[in-house]
């Protein structure tokens, strides 16, 4: 019965979010830390190096880690205040059992008893309804060891096909497009290739707020003479000083990139030699984009024709370039096409696989890269192997000591899992590192689905809005309470080091998972004694795959400040830059630099489709959603850190003065925005930095402040990413 045991405000009183601020030893100036631990930030995919100061098994502050090359001590405000998530009053230090008769809705229970109850519920549901009646939701903020273990736990221990993860909301459009075009899904270049690029294109990335450290790379490129082109419906801080700004109408990115490609062709700004020798499919794409004349592109994208021509001219004539994109073009029901259309202009330019000739997606989550490589996706096995490929199944079955036919078939994406819960097909769910009640679109549906579960268990360190629905909550580990690796934005595998032990009954997540396996009596392959042991198995499991980690060791990572995969052997230095001429990979085997048997990259026709829900008379305004710099994703951590909440206490509706005037809205007025799925009432922020046909709401908040009450669950047919960036709303003064 996974409905809320008590009213929301009772749960919030008891379990937070409460705000943690500097106090006690965190304010003392003379305290000598017991140790200073080199590790990384727990938040975004930049994974900035940071040193945590530890005293008496508590993190009391931080020191910039100047020697870590990616960020050289730099941090955003989330990184600066991240340490306040430790020693937090909301920290779960016991297991909890749902108990509507108690004052708080939950009663603390002994850890072992909680584990036994979870195992009994899994066993009961699977015995009654079959193994696939129990599902697993996981996350891309976990270390790669844990992500690997979650995939193995679902397939080997639970024998369920239903596992998916919150990278579904993040990286999958870019991933699918990269696989289609390059045969591999990873940023193609190290970030140092930004520094001397003639042109930097930033498409759908609020870089300054969501990947702040990247800003310094972009500014440095500009100091070196580079030009910056920003594509976004809002003038974000990275757009403010851009050379060319293209305020694309949300959902029209394919049209824009096709239009730019058409201008490249018209003006012969093409690398014919590269196209001829290293790609296939150009002719079909060239034929397709003929319809995207500058005039039509301007009409569809809402961007001035002159600006489109400027961008095409800069891009077309550049000698070097770095094109990066993020969720702005990926969160669409045609997110894969959006990414493919950007890759087409990269391939047509021939500027890839060389120094300062670069392409990459800006990863969102901390392990957004590593978390999508080793088998917690519904259709994937470790090393980026394909769960429907017999040879891949056989290899992984060998590593896991099971028969290939024992590995379940592909499951479904996380939103489809919610639909299956709603339909009664999935009866039980284990959730870790995911807050779907806040982060999934149309979250009234998500709440309804969660309420139908016969049994729901959550492993977390705080009682997230999703965990409030759980029958049993198991206290897991914070980032600083465990060790393991993650792959950051460049595909660089780096090491998270343990600073403190989990408090109270809390345990490292991998121990919690294995304790459940033990209580189920299904211990096969679930008896690791350390993250290192898991990593060593993962290395073997990834060996020979596209995401080959075999040559990476903890020691090698520490000695080199990270190693970029693929790294097939211990004497291999890793691969900071993909697709270098004459490079070898296990698919092309020397035929060419790209990961296809012929070694050639693929152009893909990207046909324009409007968003799933376009504006109409009834709902005439576009809603687009995104992030602010001081909050992170669903806010489970950052809504509990006082200084970060002070910086941007609650969501506002950004609205252009022209649109505001139409509805008689002044800055600071309360405004209601309503979609076909829900409504929200927030304070208006009237600014000229957003398109007048679009409003923006950041999505970090739950309940009545959640932007995802309004968003649509339309998904890309290939990547299954939801269309967070466009839906239709109407607005009125509240």
């Amino acid at each position: 019965m996974a409905t809320l045991p008590k009213e929301q405000d009772v749960l919030i009183d008891a379990f937070g979010p409460h705000l943690n601020r500097m106090e006690g030893r965190q304010l003392d100036t003379g305290v000598q830390p017991d140790k200073v631990v080199n590790t990384h930030c727990c938040f975004c995919g930049q994974q900035c190096g940071i040193q945590l100061k530890v005293k008496d098994n508590a993190v009391i502050g931080f020191e910039p880690w100047y020697a870590f090359p990616f960020n050289k001590g730099m941090l955003c405000p989330k990184g600066v205040k991240r340490y306040l998530q430790g020693s937090h009053p909301d920290r779960l230090i016991t297991a909890l059992e749902r108990d509507p008769s108690s004052d708080t809705g939950f009663r603390p229970i002994a850890y072992d008893e909680a584990i036994r109850k979870v195992a009994a519920a899994i066993d009961r549901i699977q015995t009654a309804y079959g193994p696939n009646a129990f599902g697993v939701l996981s996350g891309a903020s976990l270390t790669t060891e844990k992500a690997y273990l979650m995939g193995k736990f679902a397939r080997v221990c639970l024998k369920t096909k239903f596992i998916d993860y919150n990278g579904r909301l993040c990286m999958v459009s870019a991933g699918a497009a990269n696989k289609k075009a390059f045969g591999i899904d990873r940023a193609a270049n190290p970030w140092s290739d930004i520094l001397n690029a003639d042109v930097v294109v930033i498409a759908g990335s609020n870089t300054a707020e969501c990947a702040p450290i990247t800003t310094n790379y972009v500014w440095q490129a500009r100091e070196n003479g580079g030009r910056v082109i920003v594509i976004d419906p809002r003038i974000t801080p990275i757009a403010r000083t851009a050379d060319v700004f293209l305020p694309v109408k949300p959902g029209r990115d394919v049209a824009l990139f096709n239009g730019i490609l058409q201008l490249m062709i018209e003006n012969d700004w093409l690398d014919h030699e590269f196209i001829e020798n290293h790609t296939v499919g150009f002719e079909a794409v060239a034929e397709h984009v003929k319809q995207w004349t500058p005039k039509r592109t301007a009409e569809v994208t809402g961007v001035a024709e002159k600006s489109i021509r400027q961008a095409a001219e800069l891009w077309g004539q550049a000698k070097t370039s770095f094109l990066m994109h993020a969720r702005g073009i990926e969160h669409h029901s045609h997110g894969v096409e959006n990414c493919l259309s950007t890759i087409n202009i990269v391939l047509a330019s021939g500027r890839i696989g060389r120094e300062f000739c670069a392409y990459g997606t800006v990863v969102g989550q901390g392990n957004g890269q590593g978390g999508r490589e080793h088998g917690q996706k519904c259709d994937q096995l470790p090393g980026w192997r394909d769960i429907s490929n017999p040879a891949h199944r056989e290899y992984i079955a060998g590593v896991w000591g099971v028969k290939p036919e024992e590995i379940p078939e592909a499951g479904v994406d996380c939103y489809e899992m919610m639909r299956k819960i709603d339909a009664g097909e999935i009866k039980g769910l284990l959730n870790i590192c995911f807050n779907p009640k806040v982060s999934l679109p149309d979250n009234a549906f998500v709440t309804r689905a969660l309420g139908k579960l016969e049994f729901f268990t959550v492993i977390d360190f705080f009682l997230s809005e999703t965990a409030q629905h759980a029958d049993i909550v198991l206290p897991g580990s914070l980032h600083e309470e465990d060790e393991g690796v993650v792959a950051q934005v460049e595909g660089r595998v780096i090491k998270i080091n343990k600073a403190v032990d989990p408090p109270g009954d809390a345990k490292e997540d991998w121990r919690v998972i294995q304790d459940i396996a033990q209580a189920l009596g299904r211990t096969h392959g679930m008896t690791f004694n350390s993250p290192r042991e898991i990593f060593d198995e993962l290395r073997v499991a990834s060996k020979g795959g596209v995401a080959d980690y075999f040559g990476i060791t903890y020691e090698k990572i520490e000695a080199n400040n990270g190693i970029c995969w693929p790294c097939p052997s211990e004497d291999h230095p890793g691969t900071p830059r993909l697709f270098e001429p004459d490079s070898w990979n296990p698919i092309a085997k020397g035929a060419g630099p790209f990961y296809f048997p012929d070694g050639k990259a693929r152009f893909n026709v990207a046909a324009y489709r409007p968003p799933a829900e376009d504006v109409d008379e009834e709902y005439p305004v576009i809603l687009t959603t995104g992030r602010v710099v001081s909050q992170f994703l669903s806010g489970t951590q950052t809504r509990r850190i006082g200084p970060l909440v002070d910086q941007y206490p609650e969501p506002r509706i950004e609205i252009h003065p022209k649109l505001a005037a139409k509805y008689g809205i002044a800055d600071g007025d309360m405004v209601t925005a309503e979609s076909r799925r829900g409504d929200i009432t927030l304070k208006a922020q009237v600014v000229t930095t957003i398109r007048p046909d679009t409003i923006f709401i950041p999505y970090h908040w739950p309940g009545r402040k959640s932007a995802n009450q309004l968003t649509i669950a339309a998904q890309d047919p290939v990547s299954k990413i939801p269309e967070y960036k466009v839906c239709a709303v109407r607005i009125r003064k509240a």
Partner: protein
């Protein structure tokens, strides 16, 4: 212990992204832990996301010290203007009102003026100030003049400012674009609609600026 002469502080508002990392980190500094001394504000949020960080400029002849009736504010030989000394400060607010950059803050609960001391606990032992360490856009930078001139050829450091008849030279430098014709998209016309298809384009707006530059 003093701040080494070769290390200087540079502020480049052109680079600022308003993230408040400096504000967050300032309160981690051991000399004023829990209190942020840096100022970061939007210039005019309704029409731009431009923000400006303001640290103490550490004037060669600090007005704050000159107007202090209690002689509470000292400039050390390394050029750092220190925060008011607790035993002397009478919380009269003279410095707050007089500072041409608007830097000192009156902390009423302590009856004490507090301000940026360039993280003296860090800089006097060879480390970097918190704000300039963490700033993810390089809007705040602490290093040698040689480093900044090599890394940022488009701008030059300026440390002489005129306020009415008063000319002030400072230890902290502002980075000023060398090319005065350099335009940003919000240089003259900050409205998104200037780059939109459906909207009339302001002839003096961003498009022309960029196009002329390229042409």
């Amino acid at each position: 212990m003093s701040v080494p002469a070769q290390f200087e502080f540079f502020v480049d508002p052109n680079r600022c992204i308003g993230c408040q990392s400096c504000v967050a980190a300032c309160s981690e500094c051991d000399t004023h832990k829990g209190h942020s001394m840096i100022h970061l504000q939007y210039v005019q949020r309704p029409i731009s996301v431009q923000t400006v960080p303001v640290v103490c400029m550490h004037c060669d002849s600090p007005t704050c010290a000159e107007v202090c009736p209690a002689d509470a504010i000292k400039r050390t030989d390394d050029g750092v203007v220190q925060t008011a000394r607790k035993p002397r400060c009478i919380a009269c607010n003279n410095c707050v009102l007089a500072c041409p950059f608007g830097v000192p803050k009156m902390e009423v609960e302590y009856s004490l003026m507090m301000k940026c001391d360039m993280c003296y606990d860090r800089t006097s032992v060879g480390s970097k100030p918190m704000c300039a360490s963490v700033c993810p856009s390089g809007a705040l930078y602490y290093g040698t003049r040689d480093e900044i001139e090599r890394a940022r050829p488009r701008s030059e450091p300026v440390n002489k400012f005129r306020f009415g008849n008063q000319i002030i030279t400072t230890k902290v430098n502002m980075m000023v674009p060398r090319d005065s014709t350099m335009q940003h998209i919000d240089g003259q016309h900050i409205d998104v609609t200037a780059a939109m298809h459906e909207e009339p384009v302001n002839p003096s707006g961003m498009l022309e600026n960029v196009f002329d530059e390229i042409g």
